[in-house]
């Protein structure tokens, strides 16, 4: 078991023939992913890295049975690409693209809500990986190892840091998901937590949040009432000044709200093991699982 992606996942890459798309398609295949199609408007009928390219997502899905899509399309066209996958009924869409306008994302979220068929991960995220079986995104597969710890994060390299700590301590991962650093994302923590709770492979969860918004507070509420598995949380940005966007479009303390302090307090109040130091994520999971 794992969540959302496994060895049976068939991936179509939108923007596969571009620089990023091309590079990461190869990396995804090396990580065990079944990439079955690419989509680049105007290049339908050709092959790229031996994979058939289609003009539209609908054609790609019809011809290859793709059931997940990866978006490597530039910011100006990314919302259109996501909407195309939603329209084609692709159940899982992973948008890696950074810098999609917020108002575009409002339209996308609304369309996903109306369709009721698609789950979106991202945008502005490193993607999702079930180590050894499937990776949709840009994470370095080499640091991951199959195992029982779920990882759920708003960050990219900070996730790698946490995963590296877990792997080195001898704890593999079930599925790791970067949900994205934008203010409007497809799948907030609360929409993914139930999947980890239900997954028999996952024994514990690492939750990595950051300043801005209220996603961590909502996660704390859900975990307190519904989660039976141990959770270790870290919140980045305790030293971030208010009113400044810390790299991620969504990482901003505005009107005095969304501070690391508030989030940690909410998580602690829910009985979650919150670490103040990012260096203690791995060891704390090991302790909770009785393996330290």
């Amino acid at each position: 078991m794992s969540i959302l992606v496994d060895a049976a996942t068939r991936v179509v890459v939108q923007g596969m023939t571009g620089g990023e798309g091309s590079f990461h398609t190869k990396q995804m295949i090396e990580a065990g992913t079944r990439v079955v199609a690419g989509v680049t408007p105007g290049k339908g009928g050709t092959k790229h890295e031996g994979i058939p390219v289609f003009d539209t997502v609908a054609e790609a899905v019809k011809a290859t049975g793709a059931n997940a899509s990866a978006i490597f399309v530039p910011q100006a066209f990314a919302a259109d690409a996501i909407l195309e996958s939603v329209d084609a009924g692709v159940p899982l869409v992973v948008a890696i693209t950074e810098g999609i306008p917020v108002l575009d994302m409002l339209r996308v979220k609304n369309a996903i809500g109306e369709s009721g068929r698609t789950r979106l991960i991202g945008p502005n995220c490193p993607g999702i990986i079930t180590p050894g079986r499937c990776k949709i995104g840009i994470m370095p597969a080499s640091i991951f190892t199959p195992g029982t710890v779920g990882v759920l994060s708003r960050s990219g390299t900070l996730t790698y840091e946490a995963v590296d700590q877990l792997t080195k301590i001898g704890l593999g991962q079930s599925t790791a998901i970067g949900i994205g650093g934008d203010p409007i994302i497809g799948s907030p923590f609360t929409s993914l937590l139930p999947l980890y709770e239900a997954d028999v492979q996952t024994e514990a969860l690492v939750l990595i949040g950051e300043i801005g918004g209220t996603a961590e507070e909502e996660a704390a509420g859900w975990i307190q009432s519904n989660m039976s598995k141990p959770v270790v949380a870290f919140i980045a940005g305790a030293t971030a000044p208010p009113g400044r966007r810390m790299g991620h479009a969504g990482a901003i303390i505005s009107g005095g709200k969304g501070t690391a302090g508030e989030k940690k307090a909410a998580l602690r109040a829910a009985g979650i093991a919150v670490v103040d130091s990012p260096a203690e994520i791995g060891i704390t999971v090991a302790r909770l699982l009785g393996r330290a």
Binding site: G99, P140, G213
Partner: protein, 389 residues
């Protein structure tokens, strides 16, 4: 991206939002000419990207043209300290001269994106002229809200409902419906992240108009609004931040820090700042060099850090994933040879090929300290600036 009040009002006026007439001036003489044209009492307002200007003496009422000129002379060139500028204040380069208006009532109107609901949200209140955060904290029942769905869009009933909710009479509700519709169009067509009219005033003769206005834009959408990009006033930004943005570096200067940091990825960059503080030091900046950390970006980043006089030591923390650590180490070595680094340097590379990277760094002959774990890196760099504070 932020713009000045005069720019915000120009934009809103374009969409049909009523604003008081006026003009922007960079000198007392110019301010005088604008005041002459307006005729009658005017208000002279400092143009900086921070609120609370009146409290710092940046907003003055003038009964005569001579008075307007005198106020402008005092304000242009002053360092304005307001509750939002921080103790250092901001140099005022421009004033906005606008017709003074009589006020029967002050309202609040704001449009922004509600992250949790993924909707454009309208907020209005009969308590105008004060910070909305204060109203929200103390008397939340006085704020009337409405969410706009992307599929249904804005409809006039929303304006009628909110207008009634903040206590407007029938004539004013009509004006409010048109004004709100203009604000929504402005927000969606211009890719705003905030449109705020505070106060929205009612004059004794029953007219509604925007006395002050704030418009912010979504940075991610600037690529489709070249006209908005041109409104950027780099004088309102930190010079090092402007410099960094030219090299596509995400850099934010922090007050009173001593440890410069260079990190790949925003989350890891924030965490690095946090762990420096936990070790007893103070981070001098946030700096995200991006996922790959190439030689060129690392070199640009060193240049920025070395120009910050507060920086007494530098911590480089890079997680090498797909770009292997040994390649990153080569980039750091090349960049460190190019840029004169005159403070202690601690480098921590973790991830793919981290051991090879450490060997490269140690053999480079550069004066730097290598660290393996995050903890160790933070302790070493804090020790380099004189230990825990």
């Amino acid at each position: 991206m932020n713009v000045h009040e005069y720019q915000a009002k120009e934009i809103l006026a374009r969409y049909g939002v009523p604003v008081a007439g006026g003009g922007v001036a960079t000198s007392a003489e110019e301010a005088r000419r604008i005041a002459e044209k307006i005729g009658g009492p005017v208000v002279v307002k400092a143009q900086i990207h921070a609120g609370g200007r009146g409290k710092g003496g940046g907003i003055k009422l003038a009964q005569t043209v001579a008075e307007a000129e005198a106020h402008a002379r005092a304000i242009v060139g002053m360092t304005l300290v307001s509750p939002q500028t921080g103790p250092k204040g901001r140099l005022v380069r421009k004033v906005y001269v606008t017709a003074a208006s009589e006020i029967a009532h002050e309202y609040y109107l704001g449009l922004l994106v509600d992250r949790a609901k993924s909707r454009l949200t309208i907020m209005a209140s009969a308590e105008g002229g004060v910070e909305i955060e204060k109203v929200a904290a103390e008397t939340p029942e006085k704020i009337i809200r409405a969410d706009i769905s992307p599929s249904a869009g804005y409809s006039p009933y929303v304006g009628r409902r909110i207008g009634r909710g903040i206590g407007l009479g029938p004539d004013q509700v009509k004006q409010f419906v048109a004004l709100l519709s203009a604000c929504v169009r402005c927000f969606t067509e211009m890719d705003c992240s905030l449109v705020e009219i505070n106060p929205l005033i009612l004059t004794p003769d029953g007219k509604l108009f925007a006395l002050d206005a704030k418009v912010n834009f979504d940075d991610n959408a600037l690529f489709r609004h070249p006209d908005v990009k041109e409104m950027r006033d780099i004088h309102e930004e930190d010079p090092l931040e402007v410099e960094a943005s030219k090299s596509d570096l995400n850099y934010i200067k922090l007050d009173d820090g001593q440890v410069g940091c260079m990190v790949n990825g925003a989350g890891l960059a924030m965490s690095t700042m946090d762990i420096i503080q936990l070790a007893g030091g103070k981070p001098a900046n946030f700096l995200d060099v991006g996922g790959g950390a190439s030689k060129e970006t690392v070199s640009n980043a060193f240049h920025i850090l070395m120009r910050d006089e507060d920086v007494k030591a530098v911590l480089v923390n890079i997680f090498g994933g797909i770009v292997r650590c040994d390649r990153v180490a080569e980039g750091i070595i090349a960049a460190a040879k190019e840029v004169h680094i005159d403070v202690p340097l601690v480098v921590r590379l973790q991830g793919t090929n981290a051991r090879e990277a450490r060997q490269l760094l140690e053999a480079s002959g550069l004066k730097l300290t290598v660290a393996e774990t995050l903890d160790e890196a933070a302790r070493k760099v804090v020790a380099a600036v004189g230990g825990a504070a």
